[in-house]
């Protein structure tokens, strides 16, 4: 894994990638959704705000229109009363003033503007009127519309200064004169209604006249105290309709029967932000929920998939590195992972079993094979030797016969060696001597042999029947075919930690191919244990670096060297 990281820069565990991917997707989707949602939402809220602002203004203007119509009705009542007797008229108008709390005073003026008559309900007309703000001058070309003054303080009554508007209407009196009748009206009725109108949280409506004077505002006193102002100059110039200015929606509507205009003011930001905030809160909860779920699921994923996979990968690597001593710890996780893990566990056990089995079988095979080979004494050799012994007995060479039998017995004893594979070199030398003695008898001293053995080598161990096959080879393939007397020289000497056996003859020698084939092929003819077998055994017991090397020169002779380590008694815990 470390190596992989170096190669690719960053490598991440599967679960992290999955988690990042899922979280990224969720966040991207949410962010995108949010942006789209807010823009769509904002637009729709804006539209709604404009619509609701317009609706509010329409409602207020209807109400105010009804109110002014009501005032016209009152005017008509007054006009009607002019047709009656003075006393009856006074009664009617005083009653009207008592019933209609919003009508503060009714005054009438002659054509010169002198106050002719007045009705003031519960209040008294001042003895001296400093200034009459109620009397409005007639404007030309006004037709039948009501003439309504700017709002002003009532100046006609003693100790009573409510804010009123004056409404003037010219009437024909019975005697052919023209009278101007003025109604002074408080806003109490409209006020309650206008106050109640809300557009959004802080939106409101107010009434202004065509000159920009505020007739009624829910926060009139704040305006009068100079704490608040409306942009009446701009609004006066603006026509009817709705306009949005810097997050403020102004809806303006003129009344058809007088000069008043209704203005609705609402704040988009507030409307939108409040709603968006609500929506955002829900969304935040949702996001939190989703994130929580994602985290939880990723936690689960990590726990159920990634970690087990990682453990499995580690385990496989460990197994790869050291198959024999690996012990498998099953991983936990999802069902599939457990199944996978179990399979891997089974596989590991199976492979280890198989490996063990193979190893054991091989060892047994080799050992039995070796033992079989060792046990296999060439019958020809035995027959020939026994024949030779027989001949000796017949010729009454009993001394020679005894030697032969002794040698043969020794040969077999050492060959078997109680089943041990490794025997002291001393014994092996004895074995070789016995064999050479027998062969020398048989070949009627066709060759001579000599031993050159370092004393200190004798106690070390070597594979049994190591020298004999080589000597046999030297006799059969070297000396047997010679005319001259052959000579076999056997040397054993230490070389560092190794011991070298060398068997050299002065026979016909072998070609390179022959040398190689001797080391490779099983003996096909009468010879007992082949050189290859010796070589194999040495290599199995001591390793590849040991074994047999053959140097041969045709017509010169052959030298076979056997190299094996110095092994002392008990120093080899054999296989």
């Amino acid at each position: 894994m470390r190596a992989r990281r170096n190669k690719k820069g960053i490598t991440m565990p599967l679960a992290s990638v999955m988690n990042l991917f899922v979280i990224g997707m969720v966040l991207a989707a949410l962010a995108g959704g949010l942006v789209v949602f807010i823009s769509v939402f904002r637009r729709s809220v804006e539209q709604n705000a404009v619509i609701s602002s317009e609706q509010a203004v329409v409602q207020v203007s209807n109400t105010v229109r009804n109110y002014t119509a009501d005032m016209e009705e009152v005017m008509n009542l007054i006009e009607e009363s002019y047709g009656r007797e003075k006393e009856e008229r006074d009664n009617a108008l005083e009653t009207l003033l008592r019933i209609r709390k919003d009508v503060v005073a009714v005054t009438s003026y002659d054509e010169e503007g002198e106050m002719v008559d007045w009705w003031t309900g519960n209040y008294h007309l001042k003895e001296r009127i400093l200034k009459n703000l109620s009397f409005i001058q007639r404007e030309n070309g006004r037709g039948n519309r009501l003439l309504i003054s700017e709002p002003h303080a009532e100046t006609l009554l003693e100790n009573y200064y409510p804010w009123v508007v004056s409404i003037r209407k010219d009437l024909e009196t019975g005697d052919g004169k023209k009278h101007a009748v003025v109604l002074d009206v408080r806003f109490s009725q409209i006020a309650n209604y206008v106050d109640e109108v809300g557009i959004g949280q802080h939106g409101y409506c107010f009434i202004m006249d065509k000159n920009g004077n505020i007739v009624y505002h829910p926060q009139q006193q704040l305006i009068y105290s100079g704490l608040k102002s409306e942009q009446t100059d701009i609004l006066t110039k603006a026509g009817d309709g709705t306009r949005v200015k810097k997050n403020v929606i102004y809806s303006i509507r003129s009344l058809d029967n007088c000069d008043w205009r209704i203005v609705g003011v609402s704040y988009i930001d507030e409307l939108v932000t409040v709603k968006v905030r609500d929506a955002m809160r829900i969304l935040l909860v949702l996001i939190a929920f989703v994130l929580m779920t994602v985290f939880f699921s990723s936690f689960l994923l990590t726990h159920m998939i990634s970690h087990p996979i990682q453990s499995l990968v580690e385990a496989m690597k460990d197994f790869e590195a050291n198959a024999e001593e690996f012990s498998y710890q099953p991983v936990h996780g999802s069902k599939e992972m457990i199944a996978l893990s179990d399979s891997f566990g089974h596989m590991v056990c199976r492979i280890q079993d198989l490996m063990e089995k193979v190893r054991r079988e091989e060892i047994t095979l080799r050992k039995t094979e070796l033992k079989a080979l060792q046990a296999q004494i060439n019958p020809h050799f035995l027959y020939n030797t026994l024949d030779a012994i027989g001949w000796m007995c017949e010729e009454e060479r009993s001394k020679d016969a005894v030697e032969m039998v002794d040698a043969l017995a020794k040969l077999f004893r050492i060959s078997i060696s109680k089943g041990h594979e490794l025997i002291p070199i001393e014994k092996e030398v004895e074995h070789a001597k016995s064999y050479l003695m027998i062969q020398n008898f048989r070949y009627k001293n066709q060759f001579t042999y000599s031993f050159d053995i370092e004393e200190e080598c004798l106690p070390y161990l070597c594979n049994k029947i190591t020298l004999q096959p080589i000597i046999e080879n030297a006799i059969y393939h070297g000396i047997n075919r010679m005319v001259d007397e052959g000579e076999i020289c056997i040397r054993i000497y230490g070389e560092g930690n190794d011991i070298v056996f060398s068997v050299s003859d002065n026979g016909v020698g072998m070609s390179r191919e022959q040398c190689e084939s001797i080391l490779k092929s099983e003996p096909g003819d009468q010879t007992g244990i082949g050189i290859k077998n010796v070589n194999d055994r040495i290599k199995i017991y001591f390793g590849e670096e040991y074994g047999i090397t053959i140097e041969s020169e045709p017509d010169e002779g052959t030298c076979v060297s056997i190299r094996m380590p110095k092994v002392e008694e008990g120093g080899y815990e054999g296989k």
């Binding site: 565990p13 992290s16 988690n19 400093l130 409510p162 006020a191 006193q221 105290s225 994130l291």
Partner: protein
């Protein structure tokens, strides 16, 4: 692999914590919104048009800023003990801000300091108190108002001016400041020959008797100044009683249905009109700011003052100052 698991665990914990904080934050916000915060308004008195207008302004601001508000004041404008008790009560009732108008510049200071020690914020309107704990002072610039009164008094046409000053409680800060401002202007005018000051209890009746007594003692007085609503009425009644409307230049304070009537009929020649509605409104608005972590740092907010005479009283601007808009 273990490290990785740890990292994920940490990320999980951090995000969980984050969500928790978010949730708690949301809850906290909501719980704060449900309970209104409490602001107490403690005034010098309750019955005058001036204070009613202050209450109206305060109530409007309380509605706008969604605050709970209580409005109390003693019966008599000299009763600082009752006022001190009202401060204590307001603190006990859990007021977070006290909007205060002091009866007595010094006698109220201890109660205000004590309230401030308990963490209550103090906003002063109209009349100051001797305390370093005041976050904000809102009201008429009393010296300027006094100067305005001085200028109005000097409108008198006589060659020699003898000025009677009918002031209220000598311990009240704003009355003294107004008088100082007045004296600064009047004292600098050569026509002013003498000034006589009396201090009366701030009621119509006491001011009326005091004025009559002053005028009897000093019949040469041809200009009278007075500095609050009740003393203005008292002076007006006295002038009416003595039928001196034509001969005396009267400069009075604050608008009231009766004093406006007197302005019309001539007993009073000029009214220095303050803006009590704005005081109440701004006082509570400032309280709201303080509650939301604002820091006025002892700021002084000056509410406008207007001099209204018989000639300009029905100008639109003056109408607005004189006549409150009640439905």
């Amino acid at each position: 692999m273990r490290a990785n698991r740890k990292r994920w665990g940490r990320a999980f914990a951090v995000s969980a914590l984050f969500l928790l904080v978010l949730a708690l934050g949301g809850c906290g916000k909501e719980s704060a919104a449900s309970g209104k915060r409490y602001v107490a308004l403690v005034t010098k008195s309750m019955d005058s048009a001036f204070w009613k207008s202050v209450y109206a302004g305060a109530a409007a601001a309380a509605t706008e800023y969604n605050l709970q508000i209580s409005m109390v004041g003693p019966k008599r404008e000299e009763d600082y003990e009752t006022q001190n008790r009202m401060i204590e009560e307001a603190v006990e009732n859990g007021a977070e801000v006290i909007v205060f108008s002091a009866v007595d510049y010094n006698a109220n200071s201890e109660a205000i300091d004590e309230a401030a020690r308990k963490g209550v914020k103090i906003v002063v309107i109209d009349s100051d108190v001797n305390s370093g704990q005041v976050s904000c002072r809102i009201g008429t610039d009393n010296r300027e108002a006094g100067k305005m009164a001085g200028e109005a008094a000097l409108e008198a046409e006589e060659e020699e001016l003898y000025i009677g000053i009918v002031n209220y409680d000598i311990n009240s800060a704003n009355g003294q400041q107004r008088e100082e401002g007045f004296r600064e202007i009047a004292g600098a005018d050569a026509r002013v020959k003498n000034m006589y000051t009396i201090n009366v209890v701030s009621t119509t009746e006491d001011a009326r008797e005091g004025t009559i007594q002053l005028l009897e003692e000093h019949p040469e007085i041809n200009v009278i100044v007075t500095f609050n609503e009740w003393t203005s009425l008292g002076v007006g009644w006295a002038i009416r009683d003595l039928d001196l409307a034509e001969d005396t230049q009267v400069v009075a304070f604050d608008s009231n249905v009766v004093s406006v009537g007197m302005l019309e009929t001539g007993e009073v020649d000029a009214l220095i009109v303050q803006n009590p509605y704005a005081m109440g409104y701004l006082g509570v608005e400032e309280a709201y700011r303080l509650l939301n972590g604002g820091n006025a740092g002892g700021a002084v907010i000056d509410t406008a003052t207007t001099c209204v005479t018989r000639d300009n009283m029905f100008e639109p601007e003056c109408q607005r100052m004189l006549f409150s808009f009640d439905q």
